[in-house]
Amino acid sequence: MSVITARSSRRTAGPLFVAPFLLLFVLLFLAPLGYAAYLSLFEHKLIGGTTFVGLDNYVTAVKDPQLIHGVLRVATFFLIQVPVMLVLALLFALALDSGLVRLARVVRLGIFVPYAVPSVVASLMWGYLYGPDYGPFAQLSKALHVPVPHFLSSGWMLGSLANIVTWEFVGYNMIILYAALRAIPHELYEAAAVDGAGAWRTAWSIKLPALRPALMLTLVFSVIGSFQLFNEPNLLQRLAPAVIDSAYTANLYAYSLAFISQQINYAAAVSFLLGLVIVIVSYAVLLTANRRRTP
């Protein structure tokens, strides 16, 4: 008797515990997503109103050169910026974990602080630093009589954006990796020491393999972050309007379509396609990593 009630109460307890999450998930995530999907099937014209167009918006979007350029640009950004950022984060995490760095707490906080700076503030600050006339780099170059670097020109812009994003997120990724390093059992290090492994060998053969799940996590976060690049280009647009156009990144394009061109339906379709790209790239990243792990 008592066994049965315990079992049935356990059966209701599970869903009850999940309910708060599910409710918010449906209300704040699935419902808007469904509404966006619904919107993407229509077309609204200033003259003529709203009509159902089926998948026409998607057909237009996959052929839209502005969207394709935007996606290719963030893909380039991902390929350049993410390796630099993750390698830096990894080096910092290993250095801090090695116990060889003096003032480890201060250094750790120092690297992490940029993440606490809102990306809007960070972009404004870097926008000032990049300034071709009055920015400190320009002033320094003038004082030293060397050519002023044009951080905001079309050739440098992607690199300048990558620098801002790296500055912002190295600390965040470092903390994830550092936490994973602290979770490695000390017995492993002792065993390695007994086997005669030095600091480098320990890092290579013990720490790195143990970090793989954490690295995968940071990599997938970075895929999403890179492909959704928005704040930084949106703010630097004011400083370099001729370089950053309304379709500079795919996300910026979706925003411009919705709020400048008032093409909300088409913007919804573009957003969905961008989401699809992110899912595919994330899945590809996970798939290659898993395949390597099980040879």
Binding site: L46, Y134, L239, P241, A242, I260, Q262
Partner: protein, 459 residues
Amino acid sequence: MATSSPQFPVSRRTLLASAGAVSLSAALAACGGDGKGGGGTSAAAAVSQADIDKAMSTATELTFWTWVPDIAQEVALFEKKYPAVKVKVVNAGQGGPEYTKLRTVLQAGTGAPDVAQIEFQYIPTFTITDSLLDLRPYGAAALKDKFVDWTWAQVSGPNGEVWAIPQDTGPLGMLYRKDIFDQYGIQVPTTWDEFAAAARKLHAANPEVYLTNFAASQPAAWHGLLWQAGGKPYVRSGKSTIAIHVNDATSKKLAAYWGGLAKEGVVGIEPDFTDPWFAALNSGKYATWLTAAWGPVFLSGSAKSTSGKWRAAPLPQWDASTPQSGNWGGSTSAVIKSTKNPIAAAVFAQFLNVDPASALLFATKQFFFPATKAVLADPAYVGATPAFYGGQKVNELFAGISSTVNTTFQWPPFLDRVEADFKETVGKSLTDKTDAVTALDQWQTRITTFAKGQGFTVQ
């Protein structure tokens, strides 16, 4: 202020009464031509003075979206005159952000304000969606003569609708550094040819100094200068037909002029209202700023270190025998069609900008450049001699310029997109120093494609 405010209560009453009669006849005329227009039908039902009196003595709360700082002072004047009506002021963002929110609540069908601040050039983007209330039945047509002609033309619809009440304006002039002009022996240019010659001379004399900065990414300034040049880039006929000529002869003349100076490297082409731009105005990198009538006060706050060195002059002219100017900026108060209190909202929009005390406050407290003839003739306003401009009567100068602004310039009903496309074609070409005249054709193609996609018949 003291001379004009006591007479107001009397004139207000007669004004509203006569307004009813005027708007009625205007409405009948409008209906004869085009009976199906939303404005035409509502205008027919002119609101009687009794109804207005009743509405203004009924307890009401109006919501007013505006980004004007300290507007509580003007609102207080209204609430004092109509104690039954309370106005809730909401700052929903300046310009673009406000319009985005406004469009969102209009689509949602709830949450729209009763009255909203809208810039002149954006009025057509809200009339195309039938979101504004024609103010004629509420006495607005009778206000025509109180406002400078071009400002009234900007708020008027093709059938005489009054879509908004002008609040402040920005006729274009030229602010220049007298000290720099004197140092390099430059005369104040009165024609664009003289201006170009001065630009070359100044930059040759000192490579660190430019005669001006042409913000290539500033479509509002471009439109203002095009307006001055007599351009008619957008002409609408009926709701769904628009003629787009952003690459006609006038525009090409303008693009060749600025594109040429940019290519020669004798004018700056950096974006405006950025930190480097503010620093440049302070340091004397630019000897003039081609700007609107709100510019003088703005500059005296942003370039304090240069006080006393600046002077103001009219824009250089294409044809010196007929002085012209364009407009850049300025706002209106519009009543949103979905309002549940159309009378109170319409009376508020009118009071705010017509009441002599309120209108003068905008000019003296917020430093807005006035839209009403009364303030533009008020010695207290035009007689001001700011030290920043060496005691020059700057307001008087711009008051004169305001009367030279062309009255026929029109805006497209999808201005946001037009401006974004400008930046990516003409603006980019000026910055990159490629052929700006060819870029006009790209701009034309882009807008035309967009307009057709939105269902317009493009001529």
